[in-house]
Structures are given as C-alpha cells and as structure tokens.
Symmetry: C2
Subunit: 413 residues, 2 copies
C-alpha cells in the first residue's frame, strides 16, 4: 500500500465547491488503494485579508501575534476539508501544525522546522483515517504558535512525506506543472515532465513562481520526489526528482525572467582585499537580500561592483552604501529599477559549451543589450532593460527549441 502526501494550495480550496472537489480527489486516490495524508493552505486570499486586517488594527504587529492570527486561516481550511471528506464517507481528522508534531524554532512569521514528531498522523493513518494537516504552521520550542511563512505549506507537505517515508508528495496548485517558460508570455511553452532538483532550484531562484523554493530545497536534501500538478484539471504535472543517469538530458530545461530586482552599482572602489566584504556584510546586517553580484575587471586599481536587490529593499541598500562610501573609498553609487533578469537553465549545458554564446548572440541579433552577466554550472543569467525582458524570453525560448513545433537545437562550437 502506497502512502501519498497531497498538498492543496489556497486557490484549490478557495470555496465550498473547490473543497468538495479536493475531497472527491482524495476518495479517488483511496480507491486506487493508496493511503492519503493531506496538507491544506488557507482558503483563497484569506492570508492576504488577515494581513490587511492586522495592518488596519495596529502599526505594531509582534511576530508572535501575527502567527497566532495567520494560522487561523489554515485551521479553518483543514476543518472544512475534513467535513467535506466525512460527507462522502471518507474518515478524516484535521490537525493543526502543533497537533501534527511540527516543532519549529522561535523565529516568528518565518519559522524553521526543527523536528516533525507526527505521532498523531501515524495513528490516524493506522486507524484508516485521512489526516488533514494545516500547512505552514508549527509550535515553537517556547510553546508558541509559529508560521513557516508564505508558501510554507509546500514545506509542510515535503516534511511529512519525508517523516512518513511516503511514496510521493503531490503539490496541487492552480497551474498544471512547471513550464519551459511563463506560458502567458510564450503560448508555445511546454510542460516539463521531469526536472532535477538542481534545475528546479535554479528555476525558482530566477523567477519561476511555483513550487516554493524552500520546499524544493527541503525535498532535495531529503530525497523526496515532488509532483507539481493542477487541482483544476487533475492531469499529470511535473515531477521534480533527483538527477538520474538515464534522465532525458535536455540541454536547456527552461527560461525564466524576474523583473522584481533593481541594479545597484558602486563605482571606482579601490581594488584591495576586504572592500567587497565590508560592503556586503553591511548590507546583510540591514537584512538586504543581494542576488546577483558582478565585479568588473579592475583598471588603475579601481573596480566597479554591481549587484541586484529586490525593489523594496533598494532604499535601505542605498542608505547603507551611501553611509559607507568614505570608508570604502568609492566615488559614488548609482541605481536602476527598470531592469530584469533573464535566465537560461539546464543541466545539459555542463556538457554543451556553446549555450552561453548562443544566448548572447540571440540577444544581440534582437538588439537587446546585456547589462550584467552571471552564471552557475547549469544557469546563465543576463540583466537586460525591463522593457526588453519579455521579448528576450520569447526569442531565447525559440532559439533553444523549447516550444511545441520548434526546430531541434544546434550549437556552434
């Protein structure tokens, strides 16, 4: 008998009708002979509504109280899903994160899982019930209610799958899988059937919205295969798995783009050890999440460092850098918000050296200027003007033959 963890996101349980469809799917899965554990997020836009309500009530919102508030959303959802299951004769029992045994650290609003006890989940399964677990929540080592953060339900599901040694972990969402690029930009985009953890992590890190990156990291670390699929069409989706030797080796798996970053350039830094360390330590202390970092070739013992940060952290970044200019010996700092990062991802590029050249040539042929470049062994990212970003995605998607009906790809040497 297989054990399947099924996670349903907010849109999948947004109203009574959708909740009943989730229950029907659980009944179908059980008829196949599988044991099911459910993880459920808050209904629809409920978390947003709760956040807005808190903002309305108080400008001082302690993390402990925010977590008490937000976790009410999943609590409602698990109770309703359990009732819908009872209605069609499937024995079910809801569990809060605490009841399910999710012990976390005390880092409110984005707590990390310390341990998953799961005794009550195992007992419920043994009693033939479907445990319905509230996603993204736990109980801290201080005995307080904690929230794992937005998108944390995916992590809850992966952690349960690992704890139970489940055969698969299905992440049901409002998209039918992971695509070669955003299908809203490129209608020819195709659904990826299998993708490795490393590729998926690069996709997530560079703009692919689902699944939550943290859950992929957790799954990768613990070897839990994920199946991202639709709770609307119920068709097979995308499997995220450990890279296998016999895995279909596409050179390029997908193209992503991310317009949420701004570019900052610190000009004419003295080219001596410790300068970059001072700069980024200072930004880290201001909780700025620096993404790409590029240091240009030094001239006259002076160098420029450019990096990207989220738009809403730009102000804090500039304040921090301006305060450091004297200490750093830099001539100035400039910033640009109207940029976007376009990335090409694929494990196959490790053995295909022509990918970078093909990417740069394609952008040049379409008169798209490249502002910054950074690479990993399985990813190449270019920062371009935001106005060019969507066109860049389209031409790269075609160049690498990712669309339906696209020609096979050839690389110059």
């Amino acid at each position: 008998m297989k054990t399947v963890v099924q996670k349903f996101g907010g849109t999948s349980v947004a109203d009574a009708d959708r909740i009943r469809q989730v229950a029907d799917n659980v009944a179908r899965t059980r008829r196949r002979g599988d044991r099911v554990v459910l993880v459920v997020s808050a209904m629809g836009k409920e978390t947003d509504h709760l956040l807005a309500l808190a903002k309305d009530v108080s400008s001082n919102r302690p993390g402990r109280e925010m977590d008490m508030l937000i976790t009410a959303g999943e609590r409602k959802a698990v109770a309703l899903v359990s009732m819908a299951l009872a209605d069609i004769g499937v024995p079910a029992a809801s569990f809060t994160g605490s009841q399910a045994g999710f012990i976390t650290d005390t880092n409110h609003t984005s707590a990390k899982i310390v341990e998953v006890k799961g005794d009550r989940i195992r007992s419920a399964l043994e009693a033939g019930q479907v445990p319905v677990v509230a996603g993204s929540q736990g109980y801290s080592t201080d005995g307080d209610v904690t929230f794992l953060g937005r998108g944390g339900s995916d992590t809850t599901a992966v952690a349960l799958a690992e704890m139970l040694g489940a055969d698969s972990c299905e992440l049901y969402t409002d998209v039918s899988g992971v695509f070669t690029t955003d299908p809203r930009l490129v209608p020819e985009a195709t659904k990826i059937k299998r993708i490795s953890f490393d590729e998926m992590l690069e996709m997530c890190a560079t703009g692919c919205p689902k699944p939550a990156m943290r859950s992929v990291e957790y799954a990768s670390r613990h070897g839990v295969s994920l199946h991202v699929r639709s709770a609307f069409t119920w068709e097979p989706g995308t499997w995220i798995v450990e890279e296998e030797p016999d895995m279909e080796q596409a050179v390029i798996r997908g193209i992503t783009h991310d317009p949420s970053q701004a570019k900052v350039t610190v000009a004419s830094l003295p080219d001596r050890p410790g300068v970059a360390g001072t700069l980024f330590r200072s930004l880290a202390e201001r909780q700025v999440n620096v993404d790409m970092i590029v240091q240009n070739t030094s001239e006259d013992h002076k160098t420029d460092i450019s990096f990207t940060v989220p738009h809403d952290e730009l102000e804090a970044t500039l304040a921090g850098v301006n305060g450091l200019l004297g200490e750093l010996g830099a001539s100035g700092v400039s910033a640009s918000s109207d940029i976007a990062r376009v990335s090409v991802i694929g494990a196959g590029m490790k053995s295909h050296p022509g990918v970078a050249a093909a990417m740069f040539e394609t952008l040049a042929a379409n008169e798209i200027n490249i502002d910054m470049i950074s690479t990993s062994t399985i990813r190449i990212s270019c920062v371009v003007a935001e106005a060019d970003a969507e066109r860049a995605v389209m031409v790269l998607h075609k160049r690498f033959g990712l669309g339906q009906g696209d020609d096979a790809v050839e690389f110059g040497g």
Copy 2:
C-alpha cells in the same frame, strides 16, 4: 493590586476601531493600578459566518471538525487585540484556550470545563503582561480542540476569575447592563444595579438574553461576582452577586418574556404512576429540552399534561409523543406555537404572598388569558397567547413599579 478579568463579546471587537477602543479601556484600567486579564470572543458575526460556511461545504459536520473551525474565530480576535495593545505600549500576549490551560471533556461543540491550569496566564501576569485569552475554547482530555458553545466566552472569563482569585469579572457587551425588562418593549425599563445569582438565573432561564446562563451558574457555584456592562458607553452596569442580607430588597426585580417555546398537551392520560416518567424519558432520549411542565387536576382518573418545548424541537416532540399514545393510553396530543411565556422574578416575593395574585389580576384586568402557570420560590411564569405577550410585559412592568416614575407597589393581602 487588584486583578480584573474583562471579557469582550463579539460586537465589542467587531472591527479595527472597536478593537482599538478595547485596548484603550485596558490601558485605562491599568493606569488605575489594576492587573487585567482579557477574554475575547470572535469578531462580530464571524461565528455565524463560519457556521454558514460549514453548512455550505458539507451536510456531515463532525463535532471535532466544527470545533477546529469555530475556534479559529477567537484565535484571530485575540491576536488582533494583542497587537492593538502593543500599539499603545501595553505589553500583551494572546493565548488559545489550550495554551491558557482549559482542559475540557470530549463533548464537542458544547464542551464542559474539567480544569483550568492557567500556568501561562499566571506567568504572563507576573511578567507585567496582559494575557489575552480566546473565549469559549479548550483542549479535551483526548487532546483535541474543543468549543464551549455559543456564549461560552462568559464562562471562560468566570473560570479564569475563579482560578486567579480575581477581584472582579467584567462582562463587556453591547447592552449597558441587565434591565427590569426588555427596554425595546418598555422604554421606562430601568437598569438593575445589583441582582442576586438566583434572580439572574431565573431571568436568564425565562428569556433575558445576557449574560449567558451557564456563566452565571458557574459564577454562582464559585462565588465570582460579575459586572455586566457596555463596551460602547463604558458606564457602570449591573452587578450579579451573592444575595446579601443588607441587599436592597426589591419585591420584583424584573419581567421577562420568551416567545421561543411551543406548547404541547397530551390529553386524557390515565392517572397512574409511571405515565409521566415514560413520556418525559422518551422525550429526553430524543434530546428534546422540555421547559415548563403542568399537570392539570385529574377527573375520572384521567389527566392532561401540558409542557413547553423550543419551536424547532416541536416536530421531534410530536413524533415521539404520537408513537407513545398507545403505550400511554392517552386520547391524543395537540400543539400550539403561537404562545409566549411571561415571567415575574424577584427574591422578595418569598416574603410577599400577594405577588401571584397581583400578576393574575393585572393580566385579567387587561383581558389577557392565562394558559399555563408555573412557579418557583422567586418566579411566577404564565403562558399567554403570543399576540398578548408584549402587552403583558408592559402592564406587569407598570403594575410592579419597575419603571422610572412608576408608583410604589402595594399588594393586596
């Protein structure tokens, strides 16, 4: 330093503005030098909305899941109230029923409190914080979330007051206290300053909507004085206390009416032992809540038994009685929904034998026919036609001198 438990009902925390007013009142109370423990109900009509949502999702709503769902409401409210307190510099911490140490039985949707541990509440108080406790909830001896039922927040407050040995327990609501009768019917109705537990229990049992009867019973049993007052005007309300020898001895404390009952008459029962037992045992097994019971004088060894039941239990009642007619040897059963009970309550009537006569005479003088009568030592209830009930309340209120400007009362001997 005094310790005050303050309970705020749903209308008192219905929106962000009201929540901030509650926080301001807590700050005022603390400036007086008192320690405050808060108990908060779900916001506004939230519990109703959750019930409707459950009905929408499923026709099978297990009590365990209903409790998981409903308790989300108070959880939201305590988090928001705690944030509002933080906003004005009052240190606060929210607690679920479980965290506050409310151990209950396993009777879901209307659980009874077994024990109140309250360690975390005491610690929070000692740390100078305001504990904000979710009303009407606990944790069952089976480890499940339980709900104490509608109006259970009053009971939570009383139980906390008893556990802490609090100096007073204030029940803030949308009315400014307990009135001599419903002020919507009788504009001259006056607010009662002090009332004994026994009188308040009779008021609750016969139609006075607030406070919840259960909380008065709990307070009476444990000697916790209650102060029912308004969270809108903040004026002093009604104290519910143990009867004191020097308590102002009003003959009549108030007039209530309750149109929610239907009257059932089983006709021509044989006048022999065991008949009434059989009848009411059967109704108890059908979960019918029988209220007044009157048995008429026997004629020819035959007797009629009349009783009242809630409107929505009338169908089950008639089904039950009809199935028993043969066994009982009764000639038939009849029912009437358009009745109401009008009651006159006052501990002083124990030493004033003329009250019953005065009540009957007043109703007769106003051509209001009495259908059933039942009495306790401090209450006289008459069932009248529903159409006459409000007029009955008005004339009795005047007759017993309860309104502002009414004459002093005299009783014929």
